[in-house]
Amino acid sequence: MSGAYDVVIGLEVHAQLLTRSKMFCGCSTVFGAPPNTQTCPVCQGMPGTLPVINRRAVEFGIKTSLAIDCIVNADNRFARKHYYYPDMPKNYQITQYEEPLAEHGHLDIEVDGAARRIGIERLHLEEDVGKLIHEGSLETAQSSRVDFNRAGVPLMEIVSKPDIRTSEEAGAYLRRLRAIVVYLGVCDGNMEEGSMRCDANISLKRAGATPLGTKVEVKNMNSFRNVQHALEYEIKRQGRALDAGERIVPETRLWDPDKGQTVSMRSKEFAHDYRFFPEPDLPPLNVEARWIEAVRATLPELPAARRVRFMRAHALTAYDADLLTGSRALADYFEAAVAQCGKPKAVANWILNELLRELPGDDERAVAACAISPGNLAGLITLIEDGTISGKIAKDVFEKMYRSGEDARTIVSREGLTQVADAGALGAVVDGVLAEHAKVALDYKAGKKAALGFLVGQVMKATAGKASPGVVNSLLAEKLSKL
């Protein structure tokens, strides 16, 4: 690939709203219930049934719209989008089309220290479809069953403007958006379970040229990593094709994470005619200014503001503040630990270097389920700061805290991990090490300064890491000078 192309990416993100009931009926939205136990005549689309708008879903939509600086439309309307599929009870989906809930927003991201503003085209509400379960593979299945539990679950679709230029920007945009919806408590942000889904539109055009390139849609990316990898793959694939003078076909492609490539799903030449028209079973939805202001009053501190506050109040780097505020649970965790030990830099390091490595994910649930409470992490940091344990021992203690949920002091006192700083006790160990490694000591005296590290290491080994490094260093220096 010659690198002479401008990349144009737009993202469509579907977020499942954390309402208790479905978009147009009273059924529960709890994930993982036995098939078809959370359905009623309305969400099964049975004859004569009618939809009733879930007010809470609209409220969540307004909340998100405000957080991404969208203009909430006073006049909203639902429409029908038609296509036949067995998991869609009515064979049309109720969604918003010409008059969406909100439009014209933006989201600020930062990639490699450079700030970028990504425009947001629209935010609209719609209902999810059910799920098909094939007996065996799709091709060979003798029968297929439908689970309508998910049918009618409220979704919010956020469509970006084609302002994204790189896969890194796409990743940053998605992480920011996810952080926002999770902060707002309107979506749990879980991509693996499908509560957040992302489709990407991507095209390449000659650098500086005005005509837009041919758009390819990529679907089926169920993690941030997938999105980034899929986009990187597509940018390369399309670039190579253009280099070779080939035409890009407008099509939908699926990301195959096992093969690490996108594969063609269907050609856009046969694009479906959805025959949109205004949903006659629902009157236009009027969102009054008063309602919008009432929702605005409930907005929490958003990630961008919190990030700035973390940098100012806790002297964190932009990078650290960004990571910590990427999840509301993580940021809350950080603040709770800092409140108890007063060491923001240390807390940040422990969270970002140790805790995130252990957690099964960095989402809200993983953080909430973590065995080390913020108070316990603060306790560990206090033990390090006051010299009770060494940093090396602390890592061990941290591991044990993570497995057992015990606090640091309990583990340290039970296992006798307290740092040895007594010059008398350590003096004997140092003497022993010098006697055993007399040649190394002589090397040091002869000017091989690196030998000192080896000697320190031997003392630490002999004390199972409990020796205070400072005391060991000064003892060694003193005894070596006397040799």
């Binding site: 049975m46 439908v146 028209f277």
Partner: protein
Amino acid sequence: MLTDLTIHELGARFRRGDATPTQAAREYLARIAALDPTVKAYLTVTGDAALARAAEADARFKSGAPLGPLDGVPLGVKDVFCTRGVRTTCGSKILEGFVPPYDATVVARLLGAGAVILGKLNMDEFAMGSSTENSAYFTTRNPWDLSRVPGGSSGGSAAAVAADLAAATLGTDTGGSIRQPAAFCGNVGLKPTYGRVSRFGLVAFASSLDQVGPFAKDVLDAALMLQAIAGHDPLDSTSAAIPVPDYAAELGLGVQGLKVGIPAEYFIEGLDAEVEAAVRAAIETLKGLGAKTESISLPHTEYGLAAYYLIAPAECSSNLARYDGVKYGLRVPGARDLIDMYSRTRGVGFGAEVKRRVMLGTYALSAGYYDAYYGKAQKVRTLVQRDFQKAFERVDVIVAPTTPSVAFKIGEKEDPLSMYLNDVFTIPVNLAGLPGLSVPAGFTKAGLPIGLQVIGKAFDEAMLLRTARAYEAATTWRERKPELAA
């Protein structure tokens, strides 16, 4: 015979203890058994359930605590309404075997008022038609002349009332499906304002036009039926949260001083001479009762039919998409794949008229044609609405013929377009969402009923009922009954 009586007459007997709901139910069931093989109004008769409910009503009357005017009264409902535990076909093969686990709101309200439901009435498939010849099961006969249609699509509901096979019935009116069969069968049919009555549980044809209403033996009965079913329903967001007046209380106010509009566009070429004469005579009667008449113009009437035949099919193509063989009703076996299953099931399950409208609607909504057809039709709809708004600035109520002609022969109208013309006077009222009523206004020399249509302002059903009642009281048309022999 109890089956001769109106709801209010029957209720009076129950209260006096001269008759019991069980006696009434038994008489109606016996009459259905004797006459319905001839009339063919019922698709399903629920005799056991009716007798059980009648027995409950007996107990209420015995204890002196009846629920209201409908308590113990035997009624029928069009098979377009979902009835819990009772098969609901909508006159279509595609819903064969469908037994809803829920009641339509209007059915629940009738049952809540103590009514005894005798069964489900025949109709044109998915309420598409003007003759009940489009039922997938059989054609209902007009009790006044068995070789003629009862009108449609609520033909079963109209014929049942005319033949005394129910004290009153419920139908639906999307483009005239209550008023036209009421005119053909010689009873009172009322289409309320769009939003006045809940559509929940009514199998949808065209959502923005469908409305539920009663067929009754007289105007007071129509008022009692409307009273029972009207009012906001949280399950239907398009149902209006507007208070429901006491219709019966306002019935006797008369027409003295009322301004009655006569639309020039409803007295056109093609209007049957006998119908025109009867309607003009009815207008004279109203004048005689003290009403003032005024000529008005509804200039967009001629475009109403065309707009309707784009909007209604568009909505029907969408509403009927759910009948695909996947979840309930008919599934034709032997399909090669999913699309084949859809095609076979819908191919066999839907009749010609439904297919015609689904195709038309699909076309009207398709990407390149939306603006030219559906969009344009919506604009026309607005113009029709404005016509009525302007007229109602000057008049209290509008009267006109309900239909251009009287009941035609079964099989007579083979051309769908000539069939569509039947609804030319009723359709504009649906497009505007207004209430309309048909009241008997005479008979042709051949003895076929003629209907007078009364059109009112939105949510002013009381005015229609009052006008129709004044006219009814001044005439004797309702005393005539069709002669039927088992």
